[in-house]
């Protein structure tokens, strides 16, 4: 995937405590990490934004070992469930989590991460194209993974390098989890050009993050809509960040007033602001709004990335040719992933999409061909940038609380749970926040007389919309 040797002494990774790893070291250590693995197999990485996690990840990709990326802070029972389902031969985990795993033995360690050999001897046949498995929704522990191929990852990273004009002088700072496709795309694309990643698990609400940013002269960062709301509250526009060159935004639609504010800030200060559009099913990125259009096309997610194509279809599957008419957004490109997997047996599968993805998003384009997202076909929310399936949450609640009457809906960053009895409302809210690790301030519980349903017993979610807004 990446030719690390080409970048030699360039610094690839810098951690908060000042440790610097060159591309040479990354290459040599990477070979050591995969050296003990005798055949192509699955490895689960419990991710944090640290040198160990990213260094291990790049070693596996370059070594043709297939990683499953999970958040290290995912609920332990969910991690165990996924490991048990996919039966990886190895785990690459933070050293301090070593004792949480039994029936395994340590075969290697480096950069505060260790490689554990599991006792599974199941040999899933892995398709030759299969590069990596990513979760569709990071927080619920769903076993549904997106199968990304080597070609997917490579072409998407190259396209990003192309439209963001990345060079080895870039120093992006991590603001998103690496197991999240958008965060990972930042790593993947910068490894292509030999740039230096500033790696931290600290967040933008922490002083340490900003001192790291300033000390090592970060040049860019990415953020989901909520990141920009926080930056706005931090009076970001008044901060002195001379090294900053550009900012990107994806993971849901930014409020138009914030889009305008950050676009104007970038324009005024000679920086660049890119609103982008993507999904894990298309590796990461499908669309971007060129920075020179950021102010003029406020509210738009832009045009297809280099190598990709967008079009819209109406309810009868016909292509929409007129501007201003809403339809489902379809994307075609080599970054459209192979398909899903729900179990180890699915990993033999090849390409099921043939380069075309129906995004499930409703959009229109204007007379200059710029796209605007206006809604969704499927029932999910973006909670702080992460996709959360509403039906999945509903099922989880029903499983945990027997015979409960429940309906789950909401708007981005605000989940609304409807119950008919008050006595369980606090428990349900706590359960959902525990299992999803979502801040419970974003979960509202409403107690209503009855859940509105049609004659067939199907919940009428639109009847609940008034509560959510």
């Amino acid at each position: 995937m990446w030719d690390f040797d080409k970048f030699g002494d360039n610094i690839a990774l810098i951690s908060e405590n000042g440790i610097e790893i060159s591309y040479n070291e990354l290459s040599n250590e990477g070979k050591q990490i995969v050296d003990g693995i005798d055949e192509r197999c699955l490895v689960v990485i419990l991710c944090r934004n640290t040198i160990g996690a990213i260094g291990g990840y790049s070693a596996f990709i370059n070594g043709h070992i297939v990683p499953i990326l999970l958040s290290a802070s995912l609920d332990m029972s969910l991690i165990e469930g996924l490991i048990d389902r996919y039966k990886p031969h190895y785990l690459w985990i933070p050293q301090e989590m070593r004792d949480d795993f039994h029936g395994v033995y340590e075969v290697y360690n480096q950069w505060d991460y260790c490689m554990l050999k599991t006792s599974y001897d199941t040999k899933h046949i892995l398709n030759d194209e299969l590069c990596i498995l990513l979760t569709t929704s990071g927080s619920t522990g769903s076993p549904k993974f997106v199968r990304q191929s080597y070609k997917n990852v490579k072409v998407n990273a190259e396209s990003i390098v192309n439209y963001l004009d990345l060079t080895m002088d870039e120093r992006p700072i991590t603001t998103l989890p690496m197991n999240y496709t958008y965060g990972l795309s930042i790593i993947n694309s910068h490894f292509m050009v030999g740039a230096s990643l500033l790696v931290t698990d600290k967040g933008i609400m922490q002083k340490e993050f900003w001192s790291f940013f300033k000390t090592y002269n970060a040049t860019s960062f990415g953020g989901v809509p909520y990141t920009y709301e926080m930056l706005d509250r931090l009076r970001f526009v008044n901060m002195k960040l001379p090294s900053l060159r550009y900012m990107t935004q994806a993971g849901g639609k930014l409020l138009p007033e914030l889009h305008y504010k950050f676009a104007q800030y970038a324009y005024d200060t000679g920086r660049k602001f890119y609103v982008m559009y993507g999904q894990c099913e298309a590796t990461a990125r499908m669309g971007y709004l060129p920075s020179e259009d950021a102010v003029r096309k406020c509210g738009s997610m832009g045009i297809a990335i280099p190598g990709g194509e967008f079009w819209l279809i109406d309810d009868d599957e016909n292509k929409i040719e007129q501007p201003g008419i809403k339809g489902e957004l379809v994307y075609a490109g080599d970054n459209v992933t192979l398909g899903y997997a729900v179990c180890g047996e699915d990993l033999i599968k090849g390409d099921e999409r043939n380069g075309i993805l129906r995004t499930g998003d409703i959009a229109y384009f204007d007379d200059e061909g710029y796209y605007y997202i206006v809604g969704r076909k499927k029932r999910f929310l973006k909670m702080f940038g992460n996709r959360v399936s509403l039906d999945e949450i509903q099922t989880l609640i029903k499983k945990e609380f027997k015979n409960i009457e429940v309906a789950v809906t909401g708007v981005d960053d605000k989940m609304c749970i409807f119950l008919t009895e008050d006595k369980q409302s606090a428990d349900v809210r706590k359960y959902v926040s525990d299992v999803t690790k979502l801040n419970s301030s974003a979960i509202k519980v409403f107690v209503i007389d009855e859940i509105p349903k049609n004659d067939a017993g199907k919940i009428l979610f639109y009847a609940l919309d008034a509560y959510c807004n």
């Binding site: 609400m205 002083k207 970001f236």
Partner: protein
């Protein structure tokens, strides 16, 4: 006599400020008063970046202040917050 009145008012302000400060923590972070001493950022699940933003919004509202960036990111514990509000925003405790 007026002097005593001013002192009393200051004492009342102090009490109300502390009550408001404590209440802002308890309600936005869903913690009990007993948990507050020594409470630091990320000690409880709700005090993450989202919770931090909720807490700051609430404090800015009750004390009618606009906090600076440096103060928002320096606000790392229950005690540190009191110090910041006292030193930089004239909120007496």
């Amino acid at each position: 006599m007026p002097k005593e009145g001013i002192l009393k008012k200051r004492e009342v302000d102090k009490m109300t400020n502390l009550e408001n400060y404590v209440q802002a923590f308890c309600e936005t972070l869903e913690v009990s008063e007993e948990q507050l001493t020594g409470l630091k950022y990320q000690d409880v699940p709700l005090w993450d970046s989202v919770g931090h933003m909720n807490l700051i919004a609430r404090l800015e509202e009750v004390f009618d202040i606009m906090m600076d960036t440096d103060d928002i990111i320096d606000f790392s514990s229950f005690e540190k917050g009191k110090e910041i509000l006292g030193n930089n925003y004239d909120v007496v405790f």
